[in-house]
């Protein structure tokens, strides 16, 4: 179950149509176009709502994705690199988003800095195959994770604001 803000943001992300994974040749290109269209719309929505919080890009095959996400806490911006591979079973299974620089800092991560999603994410994803795409993964997976974990990591002193760190 998602909170009201997430719910609204998710409902405004366009749904995808093509049920195709990286092992399908032409259909995968179509799926990738839909992924990009949905991501572009989601980022535009975020900008309009003054809540721009991530960027993503992929290799030309669309099998490896990388980018940045950021989180504002006490008026300071904390930025992290993110990355993930598209599993061969996508879209039946969602990719595992990793924030490598936070590996080992929180128990809410699997090895390699893969974020540990809530119990609600998997059923939600499974019920919406193939309509959910990477934009939904960002909104329902990474977004809520950052909102819970980053303030906690800051409070514990496990992450410092990068400018503060360089000044000291």
């Amino acid at each position: 179950m998602a909170d009201e803000v997430t719910r609204k943001a998710v409902s405004e992300i366009p749904l995808l149509k093509t049920n195709s994974g990286p092992r399908d040749k032409e259909l995968w290109v179509q799926r990738l176009r839909e992924e990009y269209l949905a991501l572009i719309k989601y980022v535009e929505n975020n900008k309009t709502a003054d809540n721009d919080w991530f960027r993503l890009e992929s290799n030309k095959e669309g099998t490896r994705w990388f980018g940045k996400c950021w989180y504002i806490h006490d008026l300071l911006k904390y930025e992290f690199d993110i990355e993930f591979d598209i599993p061969v079973t996508y879209p039946a299974t969602a990719p595992e988003v990793a924030i490598p620089e936070l590996d080992g800092k929180t128990a809410k991560m699997y090895r390699g800095g893969k974020i540990c999603l809530t119990d609600h994410f998997k059923p939600l994803w499974a019920r919406n195959v193939p309509k959910f795409g990477l934009a939904h993964l960002m909104a329902l997976g990474l977004g809520p994770w950052l909102a819970v974990e980053i303030p906690d990591l800051i409070a514990k002193g496990l992450i410092q604001h990068k400018e503060q760190q360089n000044n000291s």
Partner: protein
């Protein structure tokens, strides 16, 4: 002044150096002093009871009439995917039983955080799990052949290679392996194994331990015949813990060497029974550690399975069954057959806010024996009336153009 980044880099360099030193020392031990403890290879398994024969107690199974032909174990090749808490113990048991060949897959490294589990030792920290495992297993039983692959099977290139090794990594190179064992700890990897095995028609066994460490299961999957991993939502053994009291804040998963050891034992027992043909091979066997309850069942493949190779294998199986002359008297099976019910719900939601909405977005629970349930349910796709939101608007833009547009944002 050295920056934090420079220091981090230096730490990484030193760590790599340390791993190299450890590997070198292991290699030296192999070549030198440790040789005393290494026995030569044994050409033929003997039943002779002498203190130098590692197979005498296994061959006794034959004398006692439990197993008809124990030596047959040397003709089999088994792939173990995931060499962690369950997979490493599984590989050790098979090695000690004298299996012909083991093909090991894992992308992970041994970490000190793994020391609550069996098999790996602190001095192996930093080595790849497959490499460390091969080293230990070879010294336990030099008669076993090993093939190791240090990669994540769920990515494109690796998956192709994985499929190739499953279909060619038999004892005789070029033949398929006899059995694939899934000892992975995540849904993505299980689905990848399932996809590969459905395409290849490869028989495999799935195993798992719950994230709260107090239940587990093993399952035999014969493509086209028994339910595949995608035929139903993931099955779970109910541990009878009130979900409300289960605290998940601040942790991903717990693990116990006991539960993992029990599951590995159940898995290898089923493997031996399947390969050597004794006892009853379990289709699904659960382990509830809280109540010491072991539910069992059998589940047929789902004709509406999302995996098209699963459906193809089902057609193939039906065709073969129809061709087979009916001679034997069919003994009534006591095992419960699971029915895939129709769904009476037709609503689908993007995300649920209330319990009622969550219920509405769920499908019916399949009819499962006591103690086994599904992790979640899915509404029937055909009956779904309205998708909750707008679908992507088609444009003339090419993929490259879209990529460029996203990059500019």
């Amino acid at each position: 002044m050295t920056t934090v980044e420079e220091l981090k880099l230096r730490v990484r360099e030193l760590e790599n150096e340390l791993i190299k030193c450890k590997q070198k020392r292991c290699a030296e031990e192999d070549a030198g002093g440790n040789q005393m403890h290494h026995r030569p290879r044994i050409e033929k398994m003997s039943a002779e009871v002498v203190d130098s024969n590692p197979y005498s107690r296994l061959m006794a199974l034959k004398r006692m009439g439990i197993v008809e032909d124990y030596e047959k174990i040397r003709t089999f090749s088994v792939a173990v995917v995931g060499v962690g808490g369950v997979g490493s113990v599984t590989a050790e048991m098979l090695t000690r039983c004298g299996i012909g060949k083991l093909v090991l897959f894992d992308y992970d490294k041994v970490e000190l955080a793994n020391m609550n589990r069996l098999f790996f030792q602190p001095h192996q920290a930093g080595l790849s799990k497959v490499e460390a495992a091969e080293h230990t297993l070879r010294s336990i039983n030099p008669d076993v052949s090993f093939e190791t692959h240090n990669y994540n099977i769920t990515t494109m290139d690796n998956f192709t290679h994985f499929m190739d090794r499953i279909s060619h990594g038999g004892l005789q190179e070029g033949n398929p392996v006899d059995l694939v064992l899934s000892c992975v700890d995540n849904f993505e990897a299980r689905m990848a194994i399932n996809t590969g095995c459905n395409e290849l028609g490869q028989i495999w066994m799935e195993s798992g331990v719950s994230e709260n460490a107090v239940s587990g299961h093993i399952q035999l999957i014969i493509p086209g015949e028994t339910a595949c991993f995608a035929c139903a939502p993931p099955l779970v053994v109910a541990a009878n813990i009130d979900e409300k009291t289960l605290k998940r804040e601040g942790v991903c998963a717990a693990s116990l060497p006991t539960t993992m050891g029990v599951v590995a034992g159940l898995l290898v027992q089923n493997v031996l029974k399947y390969l050597l043909g004794f006892g009853t091979v379990s289709h699904y066997l659960g382990y509830n550690a809280m109540q010491d309850f072991f539910p069992t069942m059998a589940m047929k493949a789902n004709p509406q399975c999302d995996d098209r190779y699963c459906r193809k294998q089902q057609d193939e199986y039906k065709r073969k069954e129809a061709e087979r002359p009916k001679q034997e008297v069919v003994v009534e099976k006591v095992e419960e057959q699971v029915v895939h019910e129709d769904n009476e719900w037709g609503i689908e939601l993007v995300s649920e806010v209330t319990e009622e909405e969550l219920k509405a977005a769920s499908g019916p629970k399949p009819d499962l024996p006591e103690g086994i349930t599904v992790a979640y349910t899915i509404p029937d796709k055909e009956k779904t009336v309205t998708p909750a939101g707008e679908t992507v608007e088609e444009t003339e833009q090419s993929l490259e153009e879209l990529m460029a547009q996203m990059k500019k944002m």
